[in-house]
């Protein structure tokens, strides 16, 4: 099983994702330069956080035209696992692999802090290893994480259980106080219909070692490994 971390000009959490897979899980992982146009041999792709192309114009708007994105779309259509974190999430919405968009944070400020998350659907390749009621503590670090989608879009999201993570208090209550960016229904992460593409604003790769203040990010990667070992 092999992971790939896609590197766009301006990506800056590529190192962190790479480090977690390689040094914490000891699994094979490679960087994929944004101009590469073959994804043969990869089982899971990670679109890391950062500021691809400076996030000028709109977050992810320019990165989505990198040559590799064509391949990523096909990879996803073939059922390959794709995890978009933060800027990666934004790119996935821009390229249309995930529904909705990420608007500027409600208070217009960048927020770097720990948040708590409720897992809304544990039957995905990214969450199968998580106990249903578990509240995750993960960091966020973004200025544009304010998830938005129109009404019928939201309706089908909910019907198909595509809302995967929501911001909560440490006790697990979903409320405005727990919403760091104004996201609709406190949505922090969504999947595509098939469930093989996940986008999330929080950074699981930053919560993989006790020394960093949380290990709650591990269960997401653990789920991925589970899933990959089964298939």
């Amino acid at each position: 099983m092999k992971f790939g971390v896609i590197v766009f000009p301006g990506s800056n959490c590529d190192l962190d994702a790479y480090h977690l897979v390689k040094d914490v899980f000891g699994k094979p992982v490679e960087y994929i330069w944004h101009q590469q146009n073959s994804l043969k041999g990869f089982d899971c792709l990670i679109l890391p956080g950062g500021f691809s192309y400076g996030d000028y114009l709109r977050c992810g708007a320019i990165a989505r035209f990198s040559p590799v994105m064509q391949e990523v779309v096909e990879f996803a259509d073939r059922g390959g696992l794709v995890l978009g974190i933060c800027n990666g999430f934004q790119i996935l919405t821009e390229v249309g692999l995930l529904p909705g968009v990420l608007l500027r944070n409600k208070d217009l400020k960048f927020h770097c802090q720990f948040v708590h998350l409720k897992v809304e659907n544990v039957n995905t390749p990214f969450t199968n290893f998580i106990e249903p009621e578990r509240i995750l503590k993960l960091p966020i670090a973004h200025g544009d994480g304010n998830y938005y989608i129109d009404e019928q879009g939201l309706k089908s999201l909910l019907e198909n259980k595509q809302v995967i993570f929501r911001y909560t208090t440490s006790m697990g209550t979903v409320c405005d106080e727990a919403n760091p960016n104004g996201a609709l229904l406190n949505i922090a992460g969504v999947s595509n219909r098939k469930g093989n593409v996940l986008g999330m604003m929080p950074h699981p790769e930053r919560a993989g070692e006790a020394i960093l203040g949380s290990t709650d990010g591990l269960c997401i990667f653990q789920s991925l490994l589970n899933h990959l070992e089964k298939v």
């Binding site: 301006g10 959490c13 962190d16 770097c112 960091p139």
Partner: protein, 734 residues
């Protein structure tokens, strides 16, 4: 007559102009004069500060590079070195807070990159007026957003710093940015243009008219160009700089470079003349080859442009193609604009004609050095005659503590550092909010402790002691995190040095800092001087910001200020005196800036730090916090708040005033919490170092209770204290 005007308006004196003509054996032309005017400006030549800075101790067995290069470098073992520097961007930030601060960050990052180091952390020291003023709020939010905007985008964590609020900074805010990098000792780069016929390659952003307006000029050809063609404020492009960092590091890794230099103040003029001068070589530059943002830039403008995100590479001809390949992959334009020569001359060509021909050394090294007059200011006497006994004793200590906790200077800086990505690179193991931030060094057991410190109230009342304390507090913060202080980078923010009173402050400050650096064995390996921080004649307080780096041999031994376990014994290291001069208590409660700052015995400071360091490395300390603004009560409150648990404290008054005991800022003090079993070990260590230690209470409950001689002066719930401490700045800014 007319000519006189030119150099004067460029900021050169008649004598300086004479020096130039003598040195060149002729009158300089307009371009040459412009080059001299920027290279001999205070910013580049340090002509007023050079002599005084020589007082700093700059050597030590770990020091690989002291002042003089782009940044200082210190050996940390494992074949690694840490490289760091702090720099001011005060004036640009006052005009355009966001871009001013952002380009300040971008500039200091390039200094670290120029040494061949990978930038791994950023800090910033900020000073503003009072937040009640909307203009100040605008500056404050703009600066913070700008620092975050640049650091977050480029992906270097901003892990620490400080923010102070004082009326003296109202129209002259201070924005000091510090960058820390890691480098393989054998990959260290230098800004040297060695090797005759080696290529001079300019990489990165195109050159525009940015920052030229900073230098005023008067001459026919230029005066025609209209104002709006010369924007004085640079706009930063962190995305471009990210590419620049990755490309340069790849070039270094592959050993493609002979020399590397950033372009900052004085742009191409500074980069070319300094690299050549350092190497004792010369250079030929063809301005027609410089990529321009708009056509029609004059040679003068190209040489003086301060466009951001540019680096200068010195490359052997055989490696040119390889270099171009790398830059191209990173989407960067790179152009060979000239070559290294052996005649020590800087020759600038444009349109096939030579437009400037100057000895490189004259520009970079031969600026005059001044020793301005220094006279003790009159205010010193007025402020120092202050009789404590006339001050009414504290009545409601609870109220005072809440007042201090909710004063912006002491209150939580969360509103600031939550706008910074302080976690990217997943190496930050002590986040902002403790005494010093700590980042781990991958593939080793080691960590780096980082802090910036300066209490400019102390420096105003007594620049000598203020300078000493700035260094002492920085080292104390480093030691509180479990690390050994390594070295200092300093940013000296002062008023106009041509005023004898200001220069006196400057000299005294450096004397004090030097003394502390010597005793505490933290050499100064780099720094920056920012003069003329005045508006309408009133200068800022002397503000010698100390940036410090410490080394943790074992990252698992790191320590934070948060109380950790109920029942731990709380111990105060060091002694308290009847000292309230320059304290936040006097300022916030009695609205007084008076008295002498707290005395500092470097000998005692050393024994406190030695004891604490050993105790932490023994693994017997659960939390450590140094006493700074607000004294014992505030420090205890901070430990309670961040630990989410209370404490019961019992103090003896002895011959102290209660307000001094609770809120005094006597130096060389630290509070630690420790498991009772380990008390004997701590006592032994203290004894060995001739240090006073007193158990003053224990961790427990939901409130902070402080008794003095059996009388409970303070009893506040941790919740309540947290409320007033945590939300102050956010409230003021919303």
């Amino acid at each position: 007559m007319k000519k006189t005007k030119i150099w004067q308006e460029m900021g050169l004196t008649d004598t300086e102009y004479q020096l130039i003509t003598d040195g060149m054996g002729r009158e300089p032309n307009h371009v040459e004069l412009g080059m001299f005017s920027v290279m001999w400006s205070e910013h580049c030549s340090y002509k007023h500060s050079r002599k005084a800075l020589k007082m700093f101790p700059t050597t030590g067995e770990r020091v690989l590079q002291g002042p003089g290069e782009n940044a200082g470098v210190v050996d940390i073992g494992d074949g690694l070195a840490v490289c760091f520097k702090i720099e001011s961007h005060n004036h640009p930030s006052a005009i355009e807070p966001y871009q001013g601060a952002a380009t300040g960050v971008g500039g200091i990052i390039r200094d670290i990159l120029a040494m061949g180091a990978r930038p791994v952390a950023l800090l910033n020291s900020l000073r503003f007026g009072l937040l009640l003023n909307p203009r100040v709020r605008h500056l404050f939010s703009g600066v913070v957003a700008g620092i975050g905007g640049y650091g977050n985008c480029i992906g270097i964590p901003t892990v620490g710093g400080e923010v102070y609020f004082d009326p003296c900074y109202e129209s002259n805010p201070l924005v000091n940015a510090m960058c820390v990098g890691l480098v393989n000792k054998n990959r260290l780069m230098k800004g040297w243009a060695t090797g005759v016929n080696n290529l001079v390659i300019l990489v990165g952003a195109c050159t525009g008219r940015d920052g030229i307006h900073g230098v005023t000029f008067a001459s026919e050809e230029l005066s025609e160009i209209s104002e709006n063609k010369r924007p004085s404020v640079q706009v930063g492009d962190p995305f471009m700089e990210k590419l620049l960092v990755e490309a340069c590091l790849e070039l270094i890794e592959n050993d493609y470079l002979v020399g590397l230099q950033d372009l900052g103040g004085a742009g191409l003029t500074c980069a070319t003349s300094e690299t050549a001068s350092r190497a004792g070589t010369g250079m030929e530059i063809d301005l027609d080859l410089v990529p321009l943002r708009e056509k029609s830039l004059t040679p003068y403008e190209i040489m003086l442009s301060e466009s951001q995100e540019r680096m200068l590479l010195i490359v052997e001809p055989s490696k040119e193609n390889k270099v171009m390949e790398v830059c191209d992959r990173w989407g960067l334009s790179a152009v060979a604009i000239g070559k290294v020569t052996d005649d020590r001359m800087l020759k600038i060509y444009h349109g096939g004609k030579i437009v400037a021909e100057v000895p490189a050394r004259m520009l970079a090294e031969d600026a005059p050095v001044y020793s301005p007059l220094a006279i003790e200011p009159d205010y010193i006497k007025d402020v120092s005659n202050f009789n404590l006994s006339e001050l009414p004793e504290v009545a409601d200590a609870n109220r005072v503590l809440l007042t201090l906790l909710s004063s912006p200077t002491i209150a939580s800086k969360e509103w600031v550092y939550e706008q910074y990505d302080y976690m990217v690179r997943t190496s930050t193991v002590i986040h902002p909010g403790s005494d010093a931030a700590v980042i781990r060094i991958r593939d080793t057991t080691k960590g780096l402790a980082l802090t910036t410190d300066c209490n400019s109230l102390y420096s105003y009342l007594d620049p000598y002691i203020g300078g000493m304390i700035a260094v002492a507090e920085a080292t104390r913060n480093i030691v509180c995190s479990g690390a050994r202080p390594l070295a200092v980078t300093d940013c000296l923010n002062f008023g106009n040095p041509e005023k004898p009173e200001i220069f006196w402050q400057f000299l005294k400050t450096i004397e004090g800092m030097s003394e502390a650096c010597r005793v505490l064995q933290t050499p100064v390996v780099g720094g920056n001087v920012s003069f003329y921080n005045e508006r309408s004649g009133s200068p800022i307080h002397p503000t010698p910001t100390v940036g410090m780096v410490g080394l943790l041999e074992n990252i698992d031994k790191r320590c934070t200020l948060a109380f950790k376990t109920q029942g731990d014994i709380i111990v105060l290291l060091g002694d308290s005196y009847n000292e309230l001069g320059g304290s936040q208590y006097l300022l916030q409660v009695h609205d007084l800036i008076k008295g002498k700052p707290p005395a500092l015995s470097l000998k005692k400071e050393k024994s406190v730090q030695e004891t604490l360091y050993l105790a932490i490395s023994e693994g017997i300390i659960n939390s450590a916090h140094d006493l700074s603004e607000g004294g014992l009560a505030v420090a205890l409150a901070e430990c309670c708040i961040s630990g989410g648990m209370g404490a019961k404290i019992v103090l003896k008054k002895e011959d102290l005033r209660v307000d001094a005991l609770l809120f005094g800022e006597s130096q060389s003090r630290v509070i630690v919490s420790i498991k009772s079993d380990y008390i004997p070990v701590l006592w032994q260590l203290a004894q060995k170092n001739g240090l006073n230690v007193n158990a003053i209470g224990y961790v427990g409950g939901e409130s902070l209770s402080i008794q003095v001689d059996g009388l409970e002066w303070i009893n506040l719930g941790v919740e309540e204290m947290e409320q007033s401490w945590k939300n102050t700045i956010a409230k003021l800014m919303s």
